[in-house]
Amino acid sequence: MAATILVAEDQADIRDLLVMNLRSANYDVHAVADGTAALASQNERASDLLILDLMMPGMDGLEVCKALRARGRTTPILMLTAKSTELDRVLGLELGADDYLTKPFSLAELLARVKALLRRADVQRAAQSDLQGQPSPIRNGDLEIAPSKRSVRYQGVALDCTALEFDLLLHFAQHPGHVFSRSQLLDAVWGYTHDGYEHTVTTHINRLRAKLEADPMRPQLILTVRGAGYKMREAPP
């Protein structure tokens, strides 16, 4: 069954183009022109994904986001913004948006993000349903990851990670010793390849190291491979 997507965008041209292209990519698309209508339509029938414009008359994208999250909805949200300000990006992610795109964006990129968000939601749903099936936790030396509970323990201490930090760590732990470049990690963990976002990987590795390593400048777990990328140290058998 085709995934359902709700597009909330006040500019008719862009809205029509989004609907047209998402439909031709075989999604079940429904479009509204403002935030209030978007929220109302979600009350009727929950979509699999929301594409929200940040700036809309009346209720804007952030408010819709907040309202949905307040109701406990975990529907992935892709935020479209005309402002490339860092502040907006942070706000968008902190208030519950899963990803953002800055206008002007390319359709190819939008479609890639949509696909990645839906896939991640699938993986999470699968993990949720696996909860009954007791999946085996992943171990690598002192590192212990329980994918079903999304919990991490390192050297016996529980770590507090954001969703992306967890996914990144999980990806490393699933392939210990394997070297990944930043764009490979972006593709595997974030779900898209787009030039110019590699710094996100650096930032997340940097934060993971700050949480995991005794001396983040001399890492022992997530190692740098000069000229190639990053890898997780293989624990001795």
Binding site: L17, N21, A82, K103, P104, L107, G196, E198, T200
Partner: protein, 504 residues
């Protein structure tokens, strides 16, 4: 030397010189007064002697042996005086002195005649036979033979020498003498007091000037808009109705004018930023729609042989639209980075690793151009890693702009190298290429907005962000409290260095 100190010193030196002059004058007058009174007393004494004994010469001729005793008795009550009897030529005939004078000893006759003949003289100085000294106060009276008329020739002189020392010898001792000392102390006291008073008065008079100086200094340090708005005015001295008051008034007016112009300038700058930001914002939606339209068309016509020409047109339109979009984005980003409220999201990071990653990121593009791209690391294995607190996204953007720029101009066989090294408390991050270099005249303008250097050699790839990439690099360096340097040799290559403060 401050004006205050200079004025005080001037007053002190003038006072001290005046004091010395006054003391010298007093001493001179005192000495003269002493000389005159001594002379008058001596002269009066001789007058009495001559009046009492009109046969002195005869007395001496009769009893030359006893005459010395007679003279001694005469000066018994005149201390510090020696009495002599001279003949008409000045030869000493008899004396009260204890010293045995050689026979026929003569004193200079001129002062003797002067003292004897001119009673109006203030004083006369002549020889002191006892001390072989020509600077003694003398008095003299003509002695004639008795009972003879007044026009008898001179038989000799009674010659009186006073050698009571008026003042001690030597200049320094003179100052310590009993007359000079109190005067000296008093005058020095007055001079010191005057100097202190002057310093105080000068300090009082120049206080407005110092306050004004402080106000000017506070403005030049803090600028016009830092801290409280009234900060410089608070330092201004009160308006007095004198020249300082006028200066203060003029300064306050100038400050007012400058502030008004400054405010106008800031408002203009704010409008400019806001204008650029709004423009960039407003252009995004139409550009998004256009790009999406063209992409949709491109997708539809893909693989349609009948649409080959149309596809080329769409591709051209798309390429140009994307360039416009990139430019709009760069403009908006620059406006954002210019905002005074913009804050970095700094994280502590090993710059060397980030350079590695950037080299990997651009590796494929460099390889396809035949350019060797690599991150270089210090040779010594235990070198301190270049750890800096920086906004990873912005910093990577700056380096990526520099690498992108270098790759744009490099040809096959060239190389681009990235390196980071410690320099004291700073880190130098270098992007060096062996490309065509930049003409010297272009280097100072390289980071100006919309200044496109190397136009003549720029390949017309139409790559976007024209003229803004380096301006963004400069702004990012400034936001990190660092700076950008460019060294370029035409024909040999270009080296751009970002200098950043080290993480603490």
């Amino acid at each position: 030397m401050s004006v205050r100190l200079r004025i005080a010193l001037t007053i002190f030196v003038t006072g001290a010189l005046t004091a010395l002059g006054v003391i010298a004058t007093v001493l001179f007058a005192f000495q003269r007064f002493e000389h005159e009174t001594t002379f008058q007393r001596a002269d009066a004494f001789l007058g009495r002697v001559v009046g009492m004994y009109d046969n002195i010469f005869e007395m001496h001729q009769r009893q030359p042996q006893e005459f010395n005793q007679f003279l001694r008795n005469l000066v018994l009550f005149e201390p510090d005086t020696q009495l002599y009897l001279l003949d008409a030529q000045g030869t000493v005939l008899s004396s009260t002195g204890n010293t045995q004078l050689p026979p026929g000893f003569k004193v200079r006759l001129a002062p003797v005649q002067e003292a004897a003949g001119n009673p109006d003289m203030p004083y006369v100085m002549g020889d002191d036979p006892e001390r072989m000294d020509a600077g003694a106060i003398i008095a003299a009276r003509v002695v004639r033979r008795a009972l003879i008329r007044n026009d008898e020739p001179v038989a000799g002189y009674l010659y009186l020498v006073c050698h009571k020392p008026v003042l001690p010898e030597g200049r320094l001792q003179v100052l310590g003498s009993s007359i000079a000392k109190p005067a000296l102390v008093a005058i020095l006291g007055v001079v010191l007091l005057a100097t202190a008073l002057t310093m105080w008065i000068v300090a009082t008079v120049t206080r407005p000037l110092r306050q004004l100086t402080q106000a000017v200094a506070s403005i030049s340090q803090g600028g016009l808009d830092d801290g409280a708005r009234d900060a410089p005015e608070r330092h201004l001295p009160p308006r007095t109705p004198d020249e300082f008051g006028q200066l203060t008034g003029a300064f306050a007016m100038m400050l007012d004018t400058v502030r008004r112009q400054w405010t106008a300038l800031r408002r203009l700058d704010h409008f400019r930023r806001e204008g650029v930001s709004n423009l960039s914002h407003d252009l995004r939606s139409p550009l998004t729609a256009t790009t999406a339209c063209l992409e949709t068309l491109e997708g539809r016509w893909q693989g349609d042989a009948a649409r080959t020409d149309d596809r080329a047109l769409v591709e051209m339109a798309l390429r140009n639209t994307r360039n416009a979009a990139r430019l709009v984005q760069s403009l908006g980003d620059l406006a954002l980075l210019d905002e005074p409220t913009f804050r970095l999201r700094s994280e502590v990071l090993d710059v060397g690793e980030l350079l590695d990653d950037i080299a990997v990121r651009f590796g494929q593009r460099a390889a396809s151009q035949g350019v060797q791209l690599q991150a270089q690391h210090p040779a010594e294995p235990n070198a301190r890693p270049p750890v800096v607190a920086l906004d990873i996204e912005l910093f990577e953007r700056a380096i990526a702009n520099l690498v992108d720029n270098a790759l744009k101009f490099c040809r096959a066989g060239d190389s681009v190298s990235l390196s980071a090294r410690m320099r004291g408390d700073r880190v130098e991050v270098c992007v060096a290429d062996t490309g065509p270099g930049i003409p010297e005249a272009d280097v100072p303008h390289l980071f100006d907005r919309f200044y496109q250097a190397r136009q003549s050699v720029a390949p017309s790839t139409g790559a976007g962000g024209k003229g803004l990439g380096l301006a963004i690099v400069k702004r990012i360096a400034e936001l990190h409290a660092g700076e950008v340097r460019v060294d370029s040799t035409p024909g040999q290559g270009t080296r751009v260095t970002l200098v950043l403060p080290l993480a603490t």
